[in-house]
Symmetry: C2
Subunit: 294 residues, 2 copies
C-alpha cells in the first residue's frame, strides 16, 4: 500500500470506529445526534492516524489502538464544538458545515461537547478493551493531563484571554504547545501504550517528532488563513487576520512563517532517523501536515 492510501485507510478506520460508537441509547436522542454530528464532521483524523501509525511502528495490534484513537477524536471534537460557541470564537461554519450550536442550539452544543469529553475517558477505561489495566490507566492519566488545565484547555483559555493582543513568539509557541501540541503529543504516547511499549528512548524520539508536527500544524494553519480559499478551508479565509489574532505570519512575515514550517518539517524527519525506513508513514504524515491545502 502506498503512503497516501495508508493514511486514507486509517482515516477510514477512524470513521468506521466512530460510527459504531454512538448507539442510540440515551434518554435524549437529540444529544446523541449532536454528538454524532460533532464527531463525524469530515475531520482530517490526524490524531487517530498518529495513534495507528505509532502503534504499527512499534508492532502493536491495530485493534488495541481503536479505543485510544476514538478517545482522542472525541476530545478533539468536543474542543471544536466548545471553541465555536458564541461566547468563544462564535463560528457559524466548520469544514463547510454549520457548527454544532447552529445546527442544534447552544445548550445542546455545550452538553454534546461535555458528553464527548466524558466519552473519551469511558472509551479508554472500557473493561473489554484488551490491554492491561495499568496501561489503560496510564492512557487515562496522560489524556487528562493533555486535555485539561495543564494542556489543551489552558491553551484555549490563554488564547481567549489574549484576544486582540500581540504575543511574542515565545508566548505564541507556548499557547500552541498547549492548545494543539499537547493532544498531538499524547496521540503518540497513546499509540505507544496501545502497543504496550514503554521504552523511554523510543518515546523520547517520538515525542520530539510530536512536538515538531504539533507546531508545524499550527504554522501551516496560520499560513492557510492567508493563502487558502474559503471553500477549500471550510471556514472564511482571512478570519484570523480580521480578528487580529496573533499568528506566525504576523510575527515572522509570510516568508518567515514558511521557513519556520520547513524547519519544523525537517525536525520531524530528523527525530525519526533512529527508526529507519519503518517510520516512512510518520514522515509522510509530517509532509502532509506541512503541505496540506486545508
Amino acid at each position: 500500500m502506498d503512503l497516501k492510501s495508508l493514511l486514507a485507510s486509517y482515516k477510514q478506520r477512524t470513521e468506521q470506529q466512530l460510527q459504531a460508537l454512538l448507539a442510540p441509547t440515551s434518554i435524549d436522542p437529540i444529544l446523541q445526534q449532536a454528538m454524532h454530528y460533532a464527531l463525524l464532521n469530515g475531520g482530517k483524523r490526524i490524531r487517530p492516524t498518529l495513534v495507528y501509525l505509532v502503534n504499527q511502528l512499534l508492532d502493536g495490534d491495530l485493534e488495541k489502538a481503536d479505543p485510544a484513537a476514538c478517545a482522542l477524536e472525541a476530545i478533539h471534537s468536543y474542543s471544536l464544538v466548545h471553541d465555536d460557541l458564541p461566547a468563544m470564537d462564535d463560528d457559524a461554519l466548520r469544514r463547510g458545515k454549520p457548527t454544532c450550536h447552529i445546527q442544534y442550539d447552544e445548550a445542546t452544543a455545550i452538553l454534546a461537547g461535555d458528553a464527548l469529553q466524558t466519552l473519551a475517558f469511558e472509551l479508554v477505561s472500557q473493561p473489554d478493551y484488551p490491554l492491561p489495566a495499568s496501561i489503560k490507566l496510564q492512557m487515562v492519566h496522560k489524556l487528562a493531563l493533555a486535555a485539561g488545565d495543564k494542556g489543551m484547555v489552558a491553551g484555549q483559555s490563554f488564547d481567549v484571554r489574549h484576544e486582540g493582543q500581540m504575543l511574542n513568539l515565545e508566548q505564541l509557541q507556548q499557547m500552541h504547545r498547549h492548545k494543539t501540541g499537547a493532544l498531538l503529543s499524547v496521540a503518540i504516547e497513546l499509540g505507544a501504550l496501545s502497543a504496550e511499549h514503554t521504552d523511554n528512548s523510543t518515546l523520547h524520539a517520538l515525542r520530539q517528532y510530536g512536538e515538531a508536527i504539533g507546531l508545524a500544524f499550527q504554522v501551516k494553519d496560520d499560513i492557510l488563513d492567508i493563502e487558502g480559499d474559503t471553500e477549500t478551508l471550510g471556514k472564511p479565509q482571512g478570519s484570523d487576520l480580521a480578528a487580529n489574532k496573533p499568528t506566525y505570519p504576523a510575527l515572522l512575515g509570510l516568508a518567515g512563517a514558511k521557513q519556520k514550517l520547513e524547519q519544523l518539517r525537517q525536525d520531524a524527519h530528523q527525530a525519526l532517523d533512529c527508526f529507519g525506513p519503518d517510520a516512512a508513514a510518520l514522515r509522510a504524515l509530517a509532509d502532509y501536515i506541512a503541505m496540506r491545502n486545508h
Copy 2:
C-alpha cells in the same frame, strides 16, 4: 463524635482536599482561579461525604477515598458551572454568590467547567493514588458512565429539551435518576472501590440506598423551591414555579411530594438494615437530605 460533627468533618476534609488541588501552574492563572471559584463555592459536599461514609462502613482507609471524593466534586462543580450558563438555566446566583460566568465571563466559565471535568479523571488515574490500577480504572469507567451521555449529561439534556413541558411522574423520575441520581450512586460505588470492596450483595444494598437518597434529594429540592426562602436557599425562591419546571409538587401536590419524600427516606433506611448500627452515619445523611432547609 456525634453524627452531625462527623458529617461536618467530612465536609471539611473535602474542602481541604479541594483547596490543595489547584496549584497555580497553568499558563492561564485566571482559568485556575475560575476553577477554584467553582470548586470552593460553599457546596454541601454530599457526594464526597457519601464516598467517605461508604469507605468507612467498609473498613477502608480515608486517604484512599480522597481523590475519588474530589473527582466527584469536580464533576458536580463543572456541571453546575455549565448549567448556570446563559444558554442553559441562565442563573446569576448560586448559593448566594455570583455564578462563574458572572464572576468571570462566559468563555472562562465554559473552559473552567471543561477543565474541571478533565480534572476528575486526572485525579482518579493518578499514578501515586495508592490503589491497584484495576480499581482505579473501574473508578474511571464508572465515573464516565455516570457523568456522560448515559448519565448526568443525558439527564440535563433531557431537562433542557423538555423545558416548559409537563412531564409525567415516570419521565420526571427518569430525568432525575440521570441528572442527579447517577452521580450520587457512583459516589457510593467509588466509596466501595476506595475500600477495595467489590462484594455484590453489599453493593446491591448500597445502590438501593443511593437510588432512594438520589430521588429524595430532588423531591426535597422541589419542595424547598416552594417552601424555602431566597436567602437560605442562595437562589430565588419560586424559580422552578416561575420557569414552569416540572416538579414533584406540581405532579403530586405539596402534600403528596412530602409523603413521597418520607417514603424515600424510609426506603433508604431499610436498604441499610443489613449493616446494623455501622450504617448510622449513612442513615443520618438520608435524614439530612430529607430535612435540610437549603
